[in-house]
């Protein structure tokens, strides 16, 4: 199994804000085991296979990709909910300074998690049905010895108010709330300890459109109010475009492209990003665009193709793509791409298609 080591490049551009989180060559391989008593490992699912990115303070990084591409796993690796197989996660902790998350011991990890929290996808299964709101939202405060008793109640009431729920609801159980309200409870729980980084794992995909807009607005308001940094994991490109400052695209465990939102959506450099953008049905009947239909299915992360993982589905693939695995390189300032032909290809972004439409011709 030839493994091409990726080079980590830090951005050359000078953004004022310091980097809060830097992920270097992060890997997670889940073993595939066969047999019952004497089980042995027959292979690995390379869920995350060498991911590099960084997030600046107070910004939102959107992480997009199709199901099974490893975006959720990446989010969990950062919090060390899973043990990474390899790689570094450097986090600029408020109290401990710059730390490498995979090397921390139990005590340090507990401190770290006060500053890193998570919002989950499914508001129905991520809240314990036997706990009241006071217990759910108050648990992180209690466990970390921040508040108890009457002070705890005050803090929880304040948190509920911040996310737009009435403090009187404190004694109720989650079943009494709708999906959107439950997601607010999840947000309140994540904010209880005033974290620096919040990993949002598909926080709006289980919600209705009108509720989705409310929740996105809430997340943006809270970011401004508390100076939060978000890692926003989602498969919905429109939502990611709306909320993110920068976007990273994953395909079969690898990062294929990352750039500022505008650059990525207007001038994508990776063919997969181009196809992804064109595949989103646009809510405008006057621009019926032909989307780039990718042949076949997403590659199996247990048995990925040779060379560039995307080459069997890529319309621009050459012989080089079948053999050689591309590395992530910074082609333009803050625009990283992992494609052999990135520099020569002229790909169409979201606006490109509209230009085609305005000139009366259908794109492609």
């Amino acid at each position: 199994m030839a493994e091409v080591i990726k080079t980590t490049t830090t951005s050359t551009s000078a953004d004022k804000r310091p980097i809060l989180l830097e992920v270097k060559d992060l890997k997670k391989h889940f073993p595939i085991q066969k047999g019952f008593l004497l089980s042995k490992t027959v292979g690995y699912v390379k869920a995350v296979d060498g991911v590099n990115f960084y997030i600046r303070e107070r910004e939102t990084l959107g992480l997009v990709g199709e199901s099974g591409c490893g975006k959720t796993t990446t989010g969990r690796l950062i919090l060390r909910a899973y043990e990474p197989t390899a790689g570094e996660v450097w986090f600029n902790d408020r109290n401990m300074g710059r730390v490498n998350v995979p090397e921390l011991d139990g005590k340090q990890l507990k401190l770290l998690r006060q500053n890193m929290q998570m919002i989950f996808q499914d508001p129905y299964s991520s809240l314990n049905p036997r706990m009241t709101l006071l217990q759910i939202v108050g648990e992180p405060l209690l466990v970390n010895g921040v508040a108890k008793g009457a002070e705890l109640q005050d803090r929880v009431a304040e948190l509920l108010r911040v996310v737009g729920l009435r403090p009187e609801y404190m004694t109720r159980y989650p079943h009494a709330f709708s999906g959107g309200q439950r997601q607010r409870i999840g947000v309140a729980r994540a904010l209880a300890l005033h974290p620096q980084l919040v990993v949002c794992d598909e926080p709006v995909s289980a919600l209705d459109v009108s509720i989705q807009a409310q929740t996105l607005n809430l997340l943006q308001d809270l970011q401004e109010q508390f100076g939060l940094t978000y890692l926003f994991v989602s498969h919905d490109l429109s939502v990611v475009e709306h909320i993110s400052d920068r976007v990273a695209v994953m395909y079969v465990g690898k990062l294929v492209e990352s750039a500022t939102t505008d650059a990525l959506f207007r001038h994508p450099l990776h063919p997969y990003t181009e196809a992804l953008l064109s595949a989103v049905p646009k809510p405008d009947p006057r621009s019926r665009t032909e989307s780039i239909v990718l042949p076949g299915d997403v590659a199996d992360p247990a048995n990925p193709p040779s060379g560039c993982y995307f080459h069997p589905r890529c319309q621009y693939a050459t012989e080089q793509c079948q053999v050689e695995s591309p590395t992530l390189q910074e082609l333009e300032p803050e625009h990283f791409v992992s494609c052999h032909r990135a520099a020569e290809l002229e790909l169409v972004g979201v606006l490109g298609q509209e230009v085609h439409f305005n000139s009366g011709a259908k794109a492609r």
């Binding site: 807009a213 498969h235 006057r286 990718l294």
Partner: protein
């Protein structure tokens, strides 16, 4: 197919849920109709009422579903609500003339039968073909929907296929008897965007080839805009607006439709200035305790006190083919 004042209620211990409470629309032969709405607005129950498979304790209490059936020597109108769910005539229509593609391909395919067995069963039942011919037809259908290696996948089980392939198998099954109406209930919601694009493209091609009418039920306004000709917007079991797709997206009249269109983030329209999405305040009301008058009035920005919260609005025609259930907007517009 004409649906007139359809009402399907669920009689539960906690009270009566009026899942569909006056749905009116027409689907012409070969037309593509989109049905949009949030969860719980009655879109799926409408589809199930048409198929006559409303689960108990639900019941169609009022209204007509007139299906213009093509039979030898002319057209023949059947009211599907009058047919018993298990009658021979209903069974002949269901699956053969009106077919349905469900949202979750994993749960709607049988896990213990091969894909091929499930498709051949449909063909044998409705067309009376023998096993071998039916199997060949099934392989042809799988080939038509773009299934790779159809003569091998026909003997596979649903769990062996990927999400996109399962949905292809569902479509193959639905199309195997050349229905005149295909009801697609959230056909791509469970799929990834690139797979979604494949399936939508496939549906378009098949519609061109086979000339059937398609009723798309979805909450995704993008799919509606790209795929349909006419659109029905539903809210709490009622049709609140009905228009062709261009009018609906460019001149929506009903406040709910407008709010819905404004609340979606649009690709390529991100602007730093417009950082906030317009959201609809409040939430979908409790189906057991619907607000009096217009069901949308507590969330509506154009609400007129003393009118919207008292009178139940009627569906008014503001322009030819454009119907709105809101007297205020119809009067202004």
């Amino acid at each position: 197919m004409e649906v007139k004042n359809l009402k399907t209620y669920f009689f539960l211990d906690e009270g009566t849920v009026r899942a569909v409470d006056g749905a009116d629309f027409v689907i012409h032969r070969g037309e593509t109709l989109g049905v949009v709405g949030e969860s719980g607005c009655g879109k799926s129950v409408t589809a199930r009422s048409i198929m006559n498979i409303v689960p108990r304790p639900g019941k169609t209490v009022e209204g007509e579903i007139l299906y213009h059936r093509h039979v030898k020597g002319g057209e023949h109108i059947v009211d599907l609500t009058r047919l018993a769910p298990q009658s021979d005539e209903m069974r002949n229509i269901r699956g053969a003339e009106i077919a349905m593609v469900f949202q979750e391909p994993m749960t709607s395919l049988s896990p213990v039968h091969t894909v091929g067995n499930q498709i051949t069963e449909v063909i044998q039942l409705h067309q009376g073909l023998d096993r071998a011919t039916a199997r060949q037809r099934a392989i042809d259908m799988l080939d038509l929907v773009g299934m790779p290696l159809p003569d091998r996948t026909i003997d596979q089980y649903a769990h062996e296929l990927s999400g996109g392939m399962r949905q292809r198998a569902m479509i193959a099954m639905a199309l195997s008897c050349h229905p005149s109406l295909l009801i697609a209930d959230e056909p791509t919601t469970a799929l990834d965007v690139t797979t979604e694009a494949q399936i939508l493209k496939l549906m378009q091609l098949l519609q061109n080839d086979l000339g059937m009418a398609i009723m798309y039920i979805t909450h995704n306004l993008g799919v509606i805009a790209q795929m349909t000709e006419n659109v029905v917007v539903m809210y709490m079991g009622k049709v609140v607006e009905r228009a062709d797709v261009d009018t609906l997206f460019y001149h929506p009249q009903h406040p709910y439709t407008r709010a819905l269109l404004q609340s979606i983030p649009r690709l390529g329209q991100k602007t730093r200035e417009r950082r906030r999405l317009a959201s609809i305040r409040g939430m979908v009301p409790d189906p057991y305790a619907l607000p009096q008058g217009c069901a949308f009035h507590p969330r509506c920005s154009a609400m007129v006190a003393g009118k919207c919260d008292v009178e139940e609005p009627a569906l008014l025609e503001v322009a030819p083919g454009h119907l709105v259930r809101c007297p205020i907007c119809a009067g202004v517009g």
